[in-house]
């Protein structure tokens, strides 16, 4: 049985089912509210959801049972010297030490919890980055969407922000530096590309069994780093487009990545009306389309950056993604075949396996 947490424009849906057949909606929470992201911390069993009400602002809620009572977490706010209040929370990620979690949000902010998500505090060192006044947001705001921990080493973390590039720490967040060498922002004038900080990372993941390796979906580009995020190599050759948002890795295979290409930044839909996931098993040297069971005609979908996830690893790895059309698709064999897990949900913001 697979349990999916699907964050949508109109609430959190919990879906349950077996790969290969439609899933059942087993509960819904935050009806009517945009749920940007939801996850379950496997260490504590606690469910966490980032909810951004258009009226009441961004909050994190937590629960032991998604169908039960959700409590509001404390401390997710910006200091008095901020020009504007906290805009949105984009991701929640368990850290490497007990009860420690990270949350990323806009405008380019990192929060930490040391009590399993009940209370949070701003990472001051990142907030006080001297270049912050020069930072620019992407179309969705200045969102910190990717937080890549280093298995077994809580001191090393990589962050990615749209559009402020990659940030690295090796001292548990006391100091930060950028890691953007060889990223190619073709949306900037040529003379400004060399030293710009306006680097629109869409998604970034670390290979857990080879943690110096990271993969990135960029705003026009797909990249790999083999030096823990210091520098990047393009691996987009062989894809129908280098534009897209989400990315998933097989945690057991450091040479693996899955992406869902969209046409381009000016047409953020699946190319040729065909929905295809692309897989590499050789670190980006080649890509294989995986569309068996996915819509292959008249399907112009948009899949957002948090709306794709994996479950397990290897040949039986589960893959699940949702589109702004409200459709959710899944695979129980690492992308070789696909099925429709749900349709007619509200626009999907995020998908995570519990």
């Amino acid at each position: 049985m697979t349990q999916l947490l699907v964050g949508t424009k109109k609430g959190l849906f919990v879906l349950e089912g077996e790969a290969g057949s439609p899933f059942e909606i087993t509960s819904r929470a935050f009806a009517g509210e945009p749920v940007e992201f939801a996850t379950r911390d496997a260490r504590s069993g606690r469910w966490l959801a980032a909810v951004t009400s258009a009226f009441y602002g961004p909050k994190v809620f937590y629960a032991d049972d998604p169908a039960g009572e959700w409590e509001q977490a404390a401390g997710l706010e910006l200091p008095e010297n901020a020009e504007a209040p906290l805009e949105r929370l984009w991701t929640i990620v368990p850290a490497e030490d007990d009860d420690h979690l990270y949350a990323g949000g806009a405008p380019g902010v990192l929060f930490e919890s040391h009590d399993g998500g009940s209370s949070w505090e701003l990472n001051q060192a990142f907030w006080e980055q001297p270049t912050r006044p020069e930072w620019s947001p992407g179309a969705g705001g200045m969102c910190m969407h990717s937080i890549a921990t280093w298995p077994g080493d809580p001191s090393r973390v990589a962050l990615a922000i749209s559009a402020v590039g990659v940030w690295l720490t090796e001292d548990g967040g006391k100091t930060w530096r950028s890691g953007n060498k060889n990223l190619y922002p073709r949306y900037m004038p040529e003379e400004a590309r060399e030293d710009t900080l306006t680097l629109c990372v869409h998604n970034m993941h670390r290979a857990p069994t080879q943690p110096e390796r990271l993969f990135m979906q960029f705003h026009g580009g797909v990249y790999r780093s083999d030096d823990a995020g210091e520098s990047w190599t393009s691996i987009a050759d062989g894809l129908p487009s280098d534009f897209g948002f989400p990315m998933v890795l097989d945690p057991a295979d450091p040479d693996s990545a899955f992406v869902i290409p969209l046409v381009a930044d000016m047409d953020r839909t699946t190319p040729e009306g065909k929905v295809r996931v692309y897989e590499t098993r050789d670190a980006g040297a080649s890509w294989t389309p995986r569309g068996d069971g996915l819509p292959q005609e008249g399907a112009y979908l948009t899949i957002l950056r948090q709306a794709f996830c994996g479950e397990g690893s290897g040949e039986g790895m589960g893959l699940y993604f949702g589109a702004t059309s409200g459709d959710v698709f899944g695979s129980g064999d690492a992308g070789k075949t696909w099925f429709t897990a749900a349709t007619k949900l509200p626009p999907v913001h995020s998908v995570r396996a519990a």
Partner: protein, 86 residues
């Protein structure tokens, strides 16, 4: 004292109260008094900088109010979601 009128979910965060008498000579002061009396409301109407959230309207009787709008005895503050969203 001014009277604050709330609807769900704000009334639920305020202990189930749909109407409360609270101290204050401005809209901001009254809403801060509401937060002190019912801390669960904190961050829902006013943001962390004390501004009324962008898509919340606070009416003083029948007129739009701002944080610095003066209020007095018997004024009614209606806290309502704006007509926005999608």
């Amino acid at each position: 004292m001014p009277v604050v009128r709330l609807r769900a979910p704000l009334s639920e965060l305020a202990g189930g109260n749909r109407e409360l008498e609270l101290d204050g000579s401005t809209v901001g002061e009254v809403l801060q008094a509401l937060e002190r009396e019912h801390p669960d409301v904190r961050g829902w109407i006013l943001d962390e900088h004390g501004a009324i959230r962008e898509h919340i309207n606070v009416f003083v009787n029948r007129d739009y109010g701002r944080v610095d709008t003066a209020v007095g005895e018997g004024d009614r503050l209606h806290v309502l979601p704006a007509i926005s969203g999608g």
